[in-house]
């Protein structure tokens, strides 16, 4: 092991920034917090990107490791114990003052702090806690802080960080237990899910206290949390309180650890996680199913996907996948948005028989083509939920359509002004019961319109059924098949 001695701050920043860059769960969104008139900082709900790196990824937070020394041997990680890389460690004061100096100049929205695990999880988290506490207490920093949870650390210390951080995340690393066993021998599903559950419960508890549903929390001798005082919750709520306590030892201390003052919220921006994709053989259906479960069972705010980069030149693992893996990652994110904002379920998008996304069409177009019986929809009548299913119509434009209908009947010309992407939407909508063009509503024909020219050659390579276009397909004949009205 090479220990870097007498490294300058700049050298440390290079080493520990470089070591943290593969973590993609680094947005600054999820919490709206005005400045309190003292100290420094606030937080904006939508997050703020302050720069874009040369790979086009947003730079929002000072994303660094506390140290890149590590006793774990994860095969995908450049900092694993057996690697000969220069090791560096920040002091908590260095982390705090770097954050403040960058923040004052509007370079960043806050801090993203992760760490190699050294000498053990508990000690690692202690140092991270110290840095975060310096920021919040000494520097009175009111901006965004995201702290990586270290699997294996005690619930108590993890929880203490939760009272200071805006967001926490624990990386699932790989979508399946098999993958995890193979690539991250020191981590287990259990050590990953345990803190995830604890943070989830903490957030739920904190929110319920915020909503004033539970006014006083008492703890009985056997560790059960009792709701006392003016309980306004339903019997189901009370049951949930008991469930929380049964699942979690650490819950006993939860409310007692709550600090006073403005910052007294527990992980207000929620938690996120990331999965490495393309390192092991999971298909898109497996990845999306895990994602859906994480949203449903752990109330995660975001699940991120990180294309595998073979930093250790491991011959047993795939090499950098280039455009292919980036396109796949893009499809996963598109589907992720469909789950979170558009009311789709994974089963609408993929099945065990059709387990991977269509590389030629985005998941929403793909869905529409397989459900042509639902289209076209009439813009002036369709409900918000139905509008959301139309390719080319997003959350904003659907909302605008619903609002604008109050002012009059909409026509195609109005839609593009409202942000509808007409080159996709035009095949799936009518205005005043008429389609914009005569279109043969046939899967193959529409497919050929929707796939853009640059990727059309792929049609044959990928083995997707492809028909030579004829004049009839452009609606210049065959009037009998013309579709109008919904």
């Amino acid at each position: 092991m090479i220990i870097g001695e007498n490294l300058t701050l700049e050298q440390k920043l290079e080493i520990l920034g470089d070591a943290a860059k593969y973590d993609v769960a680094c947005t600054s969104s999820g919490v709206e917090r005005k400045g309190n008139g003292h100290g420094i900082g606030n937080a904006v709900k939508g997050g703020i990107c302050h720069a874009f790196a040369a790979d086009g990824r947003c730079v929002s937070l000072l994303k660094i490791l506390m140290t890149n020394e590590c006793c774990y041997k994860c095969r995908y990680c450049i900092n694993r114990a057996q690697n000969d890389v220069v090791r560096a460690t920040f002091t908590p004061e260095e982390v705090a003052s770097l954050t403040i100096e960058f923040y004052r100049r509007n370079y960043i929205e806050g801090l993203f702090l992760s760490s190699g695990i050294y000498p053990d999880p508990e000690e690692t988290v202690k140092r991270m806690l110290e840095a975060v506490r310096l920021l919040r207490v000494k520097y009175r920093f009111n901006g965004y802080i995201h702290v990586k949870t270290i699997p294996g650390a005690s619930m108590e210390i993890t929880q203490e960080i939760g009272w200071l951080a805006d967001r926490m995340s624990v990386n699932l690393e790989l979508p399946t237990t098999d993958g995890l066993r193979k690539l991250a021998p020191n981590k287990t599903r259990e050590t990953i899910l345990k803190p995830m559950r604890m943070i989830q419960n903490g957030i739920e508890m904190d929110q319920r206290v915020q909503q004033d549903q539970i006014h006083r929390i008492g703890v009985s001798n056997d560790g059960m949390i009792l709701a006392g005082g003016n309980v306004t919750g339903t019997p189901k709520d009370r049951f949930r309180v008991r469930r929380l306590s049964a699942e979690n030892e650490g819950m006993k201390n939860f409310m007692q650890q709550r600090p006073d003052g403005n910052m007294g919220r527990f992980v207000p921006a929620g938690q996120s996680t990331q999965m490495i994709i393309g390192a092991t053989g999971e298909n898109d259906y497996q990845i999306m199913s895990v994602t859906e479960q994480l949203y449903q069972k752990f109330d995660l705010k975001r699940v991120f996907f990180s294309s595998f980069v073979n930093v250790n030149h491991d011959s047993d693992m795939p090499q950098w996948g280039g455009r292919t893996i980036l396109d796949r990652e893009h499809r996963l994110y598109q589907a992720d948005f469909l789950l979170r904002f558009y009311g789709f379920d994974v089963k609408d998008l993929l099945t065990p028989e059709r387990p991977n996304f269509n590389m030629l069409l985005d998941p929403k177009c793909d869905y529409a083509l397989r459900h042509l019986e639902k289209f076209p929809v009439e813009i002036n009548r369709a409900s918000y939920q139905v509008l959301l299913q139309v390719p080319g119509i997003g959350v904003t434009s659907a909302r605008r359509i619903v609002a604008a209908r109050r002012g009059g009947i909409l026509d195609f010309a109005d839609l593009s002004r409202m942000g509808v992407v007409m080159k996709r939407a035009v095949y799936f909508i009518t205005c005043k019961d008429k389609m914009m063009y005569r279109i043969n509503m046939n899967e193959n024909t529409l497919m050929s319109y929707l796939v853009d020219d640059s990727s059309r050659f792929l049609l044959t390579e990928e083995g997707v059924q492809y028909e030579q276009l004829s004049l009839f397909d452009f609606g210049m004949g065959n009037i009998g098949q013309q579709v109008s009205g919904a």
Binding site: H38, A54, R105
Partner: protein, 269 residues
């Protein structure tokens, strides 16, 4: 019909004064146009009668109050953003939007099919987007030089450091971004200088903020200072660049994506 053109001062109050005048003159809305001064002023039009409308705070205020009451505060915000833009037709768009708004009330903002409403929304969106971009991409530099006297900061203000930023926006966004930075940096002295419109937002530590016009003309030394990095500042900038360069994942290099997300015009030296 004779066309009537009203010229007004290029400011929110100036435009609203002209709207008030248009209602008073009763030439008929369809035959009346409002333009801001300075825009093709010499470009005479045949068969048009031109009138100069001086700024009148009372008139502007009465239009503003009626607008908020009848069309709503969303519409008011959209009009203020539009009035700060550099769109050549903004005054006329605001005028004709108001004509529709006073007739139809709060739902007017949703009349996407109306060309004036659509245009107002387009300009408003452009200015909002530019405001967000400056919130994101504006950078401060720290100065230790003594500038307290010229800055009109309150007596006793802690002057050992001043953060400055120079921006080159298309719209007059300073007034729109100052609330964000004042909330974020309550204990900093800072100055944001818009060198295009020669105006600055100034915030004193522990105090409030104000807008100062024609800083470049009145205090050229301050305007010049906003572009300069002192030695200690270069150190911090070097640290940032080291971090910025290292966080790229080389395999994912994508200059096109970077530049579409962060246009080069925001990269001030």
């Amino acid at each position: 019909m004779m066309k009537h053109i009203l010229y007004c001062e290029d400011s929110p109050e100036g435009i609203l004064s002209a709207v008030h005048e248009a209602y008073t003159l009763r030439y008929g809305h369809a035959d009346t146009e409002i333009r801001t001064e300075g825009r093709d002023a010499e470009n005479m039009e045949l068969f048009a009668q031109t009138t100069k409308v001086p700024l009148n705070q009372a008139h502007a205020a009465s239009v503003r109050d009626a607008l908020i009451r009848k069309i709503g505060s969303d519409a008011y915000d959209m009009i203020m953003y539009t009035a700060l833009s550099n769109a050549p037709d903004k005054a006329d768009v605001i005028y004709h939007f108001l004509v529709r708004g006073f007739a139809n009330g709060e739902k007017t903002v949703d009349f996407y099919s109306d060309p004036y409403v659509a245009r107002l929304r387009t300009i408003d969106r452009k200015v909002s987007r530019e405001t967000c971009h400056w919130n994101e991409f504006l950078r401060f530099r720290e100065h230790t030089a003594q500038m307290a006297p010229a800055l009109m900061l309150p007596e006793g203000a802690n002057m050992h450091t001043l953060m400055t930023s120079r921006i080159t926006p298309e719209a007059r966004v300073v007034v729109l971004i100052m609330p964000h930075f004042s909330d974020r940096f309550p204990e900093e002295n800072f100055l944001i200088y818009d060198s295009v419109h020669d105006e600055a937002g100034i915030h004193a530590a522990g105090g409030s903020w104000y807008i100062s016009q024609q800083i470049g003309r009145q205090f050229p030394e301050i305007a010049a200072l906003t572009g300069v990095a002192e030695t200690a500042e270069e150190e911090v900038e070097r640290l940032w660049k080291a971090f910025f360069d290292t966080i790229e994942i080389k395999q994912r290099h994508n200059t096109k994506l970077q530049q579409s997300l962060m246009p080069l015009k925001f990269r001030v030296s």
